[in-house]
């Protein structure tokens, strides 16, 4: 089949629609990347024109095609210290705010969803030990969840490639990893600090087990949900958070497109969302 050409007008329509649905913006400088993937999906869905494909994308009741396309258009590579400005925000702004009203006798609870293969929760553990002086005064629990039990097993093993640990400062690498045959393994102290558990964020009953969370990292997951599931997930997480608790989303994601339950908080390193302190 020949490569279907996508007109400038069609691209504009598509980019606008995709932005509204996912919050991800493509300008015409990304055309090669986007067109290639659009063409791939047009072939896979037997669409003989862009118009045909766009109609399918918009009006398909299951939203399946939009998910396929989103998967293709987002590069979801996880590695240590990814988007670490949010960890900076955690130690510089979020935790200092939380400890002001936190019960001394209770641990601070941080929840990562999706856990994926574990890079994010382990990065947070290292960041807290290295960059947050409060760790001397407070207990912290880190919980990491994923829908995929296979990936949780991998995360518990904690073995990573050279590529995955490339962002880790050398001194930290020495302290928190040991070299093994397959690459680098996170040391036991750090692995023991993260509890891995299976949670499906679309299941209210699953999320209900999570309570009194102070900070949720939910990065680059909600873009794969349809509008309603995304809104419901935001509502479930609201219940999981303590009053005044925070949620960090991925850098292309905005709670503003999902739900109005949360307040926006601007800190020097990042914008995060807060379950409001006083009842609205």
């Amino acid at each position: 089949m020949t490569e279907e050409s996508i007109s400038e007008q069609d691209f504009a329509k598509f980019a606008e629609y995709f932005y509204r649905k996912t919050g991800i913006k493509f300008d015409s400088s990304k055309r090669y990347f986007v067109d290639k993937r659009l063409n791939e999906r047009m072939r896979a869905t037997d669409s003989d024109s862009f118009r045909h494909y766009f109609t399918l994308l918009r009006f398909q009741a299951s939203g399946e095609e939009l998910q396929h396309l989103t998967n293709l258009l987002t590069v979801n590579e996880t590695y240590f210290m990814r988007e670490d400005y949010q960890f900076r925000c955690l130690v510089d702004s979020v935790l200092p705010d939380i400890v002001q009203r936190h019960d001394r006798n209770k641990p601070i609870r941080i929840w990562c969803i999706p856990s994926s293969s574990g890079e994010e929760p382990y990065s947070i553990a290292m960041y807290l030990l290295e960059e947050w002086s409060g760790i001397n005064d407070w207990d912290v629990e880190i919980i990491a969840s994923d829908i995929d039990t296979q990936i949780l097993d991998n995360a518990r093993r904690g073995i990573y490639s050279e590529r995955s640990v490339r962002g880790v400062p050398l001194a930290w690498k020495r302290r928190y990893f040991r070299e093994v045959r397959e690459g680098y393994q996170v040391v036991n102290d750090i692995r023991d600090a993260v509890e891995f558990t299976r949670v499906n964020l679309s299941e209210s009953a699953d999320v209900r087990r999570m309570r009194d969370i102070d900070v949720i990292f939910c990065r680059n997951l909600l873009i794969y949900f349809d509008d309603l599931s995304r809104k419901l997930a935001a509502e479930y997480m609201f219940e999981a958070l303590r009053v005044g608790g925070y949620i960090c989303l991925g850098h292309t994601e905005s709670m503003g497109r999902i739900s109005s339950l949360y307040s926006v908080r601007k800190f020097p390193a990042a914008i995060v969302y807060q379950r409001p302190l006083e009842a609205k």
């Binding site: 069609d10 918009r58 207990d139 509890e195 509008d227 339950l261």
Partner: protein, 205 residues
Amino acid sequence: MALLKRKKASITKSVTKTKDCSQLRALLIADSAQDRRCAARDLIGCPHASTSLLEQLACEQETSVRQVILSSLTQIGDQPAVTGLVHCLRSEDVSLRNEAIEAMKHLPEAVAPIMANLLNDPDPDVRIFSVNILESLCHPAVETWLIDVIRDDKHVNVCATAVDLLGEVGSPAALTELNNLKQRFGDEPYIQFTADLAIRRIQGG
């Protein structure tokens, strides 16, 4: 103090005991917003849930509870739920109106049969909101409805809203009425602008 070692106990294993429907209805008017949210979420499986939820929605002041009620109504999506949502479109409360619009976008099958009526409502605001619903309504008749609006509706803002959307979903079938509309509102720069844009986009695709 330090990072705590993992221990299974940190996650609540005790599954909340399922409450029966009458308990949930009582909880829906409880003093605590958290209880009300919880009831609004769990009522979904109960008989006549929509009616109870709509009753509470009418007097609920807490935004977070209203959001959960609306999400539950969307998930139920039966006829009483839709009728209640239509009623919200007439509310003077902007938030409630917009939340109802968002909810109705997710209910194509329940909304489609009443769409023609909504688009002919005497109140132009309700007609605008109905066009807003069409924006994300997954239904094959969306373009036909929009073409009817720009052919027949007398209100400039109702037509403007419909043209905005035709620029995205319109096909060559809309071209004649787009050109007629430009004639009909010859002295409205916004109509000229949005209709020209829609025409260009349709012809360019």
